[in-house]
Every structure is written in structure tokens, then in C-alpha cells.
Symmetry: C2
Subunit: 178 residues, 2 copies
């Protein structure tokens, strides 16, 4: 099963593609869609939609996971974020893909093992679980985190079995010093 995780934003939308192969996680791709060059806000939404459609066409994910936002600093930024999120989710549902939503607490719980983890801890754990020396974009890392959360929550991989054997990194979340 291939999962596309998305971290939507009106300026930067992160994406992460992770495969659950047997009982292991395999990193396929991660990156970010930048909307700065769009001429206006509808153009930004088009960039997000088109960018994700391209990712979906390239990797044929079976499912999509997005972090659920329960708060925002103010209604104006919530409106912008909401529109970016709407554009991202529509790209998925337009391709017939089911979309699962997870709270930040659920993502932290699934990736680090506790819901109060710091952002830096989550990023380190995502790198370790997928055997990546670095992840260029924090938004891409967040997108990978929600993809990992979905694979775990979906019951296909137990969190203790989250090891990336493909690159000989035998690490479970319990072994990592954060």
C-alpha cells in the first residue's frame, strides 16, 4: 500500500510518499510545492491542485492522509489555510482516493510514541524511521509524518515494526535518542 501524506499551506504544501511493503516502511519521495510564482490566490490553489495531481499520477498512491487542523491564530489565516487544504483534498478525491484525517496529537503519538512531542523530535523520528539522512523541507517532513501515522493507524504496520530495512537501518522508535 502506498500512502501520500500532505501538509497543505497556501505558500508551501509539503508531500511525502511512503509505501507499506509487508511489515516495513519504504520511503518513496518527499518534497514541497511552492506557490509563490502564482499571479494571485486562485493561481496558488491551482498550483497546489496541479502539483498534487502530478504526484498522484507519478506514484499512484492507494490512500491519502492529511493532518487535521483544529486551531489557527486568527480567522484570516484559517481562511487561507482552509482554501489550500480544500485544494489539496479535492486533488485526492478527484482521483478517487480516500482521504484520512489525523490530529497533530495522533501524528505525534504514532511517530514519536507520545502526543506532547516537540516538532524537532517528530522530524528526527521521521528521518530515522525512513532511514533518511535529511529532509530538506519541514513541510515535507510533516507530510511524511502523517503518512506514517496513517500506515500505523490503518493497522497494516505496528509502530514497533516501523523499521526501514531497505537501507539496513534496524531502528524502532524505542531505540532512538531524540
Amino acid at each position: 500500500m502506498i500512502v501520500l501524506g500532505i501538509d497543505p499551506g497556501s505558500r508551501i504544501t509539503g508531500y511525502g510518499v511512503v509505501e507499506n511493503s509487508g511489515n516495513r516502511l519504504v520511503h518513496i519521495d518527499n518534497g514541497a510545492i511552492f506557490t509563490d510564482t502564482a499571479p494571485d490566490f486562485p493561481g496558488r490553489l491551482k498550483t497546489i491542485f496541479d502539483g498534487l495531481m502530478e504526484i498522484i499520477a507519478r506514484y499512484h498512491p492507494d490512500q491519502v492522509a492529511v493532518e487535521n487542523i483544529f486551531f489557527a491564530t486568527n480567522p484570516q489565516s484559517a481562511l487561507k489555510l482552509g482554501q489550500a487544504r480544500g485544494a489539496a483534498i479535492v486533488a485526492a478525491v478527484h482521483c478517487g482516493l480516500p482521504v484520512a484525517e489525523y490530529s497533530a496529537l495522533q501524528v505525534k503519538q504514532a511517530v514519536v510514541g507520545q502526543g506532547r512531542a516537540e516538532k524537532g523530535q517528530v522530524q528526527k523520528m521521521v528521518r530515522a524511521l525512513l532511514g533518511l539522512p535529511e529532509i530538506a523541507q519541514p513541510d515535507a517532513s510533516d507530510a511524511l509524518a502523517v503518512a506514517i501515522c496513517h500506515i500505523n493507524s490503518y493497522g497494516l504496520t505496528q509502530i514497533s515494526a516501523l523499521t526501514s530495512r531497505s537501507n539496513k537501518l534496524k531502528t524502532s522508535w524505542r531505540d532512538i535518542k531524540l
Copy 2:
């Protein structure tokens, strides 16, 4: 020129199709897309996107107009509204249509002639300008209002020429008792 006006909402999305034919406004269609039957929130966004794609395929509008929201009661409702708005705008840009955004003040100014008009005044004026005995949905009326605003702002029709000759109703906004 045919304009599709949209009033997005996560429960009800209103739409209104108005043609600017020569120097007159011709009502083509109006209605609402209800998302209540969708199984989840991504499903609601799909319903909005698919519904508007169908409207666009049916009437081939040249341009799309959406009311710009500058405030919301709280971040949570702003997020929901934002996502619905994102789904609606993506339907337009995916079809290659330009999307214009107008503030509530601009819409009231264009339709009623003053920015502080009450909602009921705007609805009456929309009916009068398009020669419609009634408009079933308030959201559809709002969508028609933003379409009229766009036609007026686009400089194709002066507000004083906003008459619906197709049904012999010779009325300008100055003649109507609100």
C-alpha cells in the same frame, strides 16, 4: 459573456449564471449544491467540486466570480468555509477559467448602489434586475449578486443599464422601492 457567480459553503454552495448580452443582463440559471449526503468532509468537498464542474460543463461560463470573505466568527468555521471555497475555486481554475474576487461591500455597492445595504435589499434587487419572481435559495441569490457585481465591475455593463429586457421588465436600481 457568461459569468458564473459562486457563494461557497461547506453545507450549501450557491451558484448563479448570468449572461451579459449587449447591454443587458440575462438570467441563465441559479441553484444550490447540498453536501449533506456526503459521508465525510472530504466527500463534501468532492460534492462541491463535482457539482460546479457539471455547471461549468453545462453553461460554459467565460469567467467566475466569488465573494471574498474577510472575516469569520471563529477560526474553526473559517477553516471549514475556506476548504469549501478552495474546492469551488479549484473547479474554476481547473477548467481554465479566470476567478475574480469581490468584497461584500463591492457586491452591495454594485447591486444596490450602496455598500451598507441589508441582505434583504440585495436579494430584492437581484430579483428585480434579473426579472425573477423568486429565488429559492438565499445562497443562489448571493451567487447571482456576485455575478452581477462582476459584470458591472468588468465594465461591460453600466449599473444604470442593468435591466432585464428579456422579460419586459424595464427596471434600473434607481427605480426600485426596497
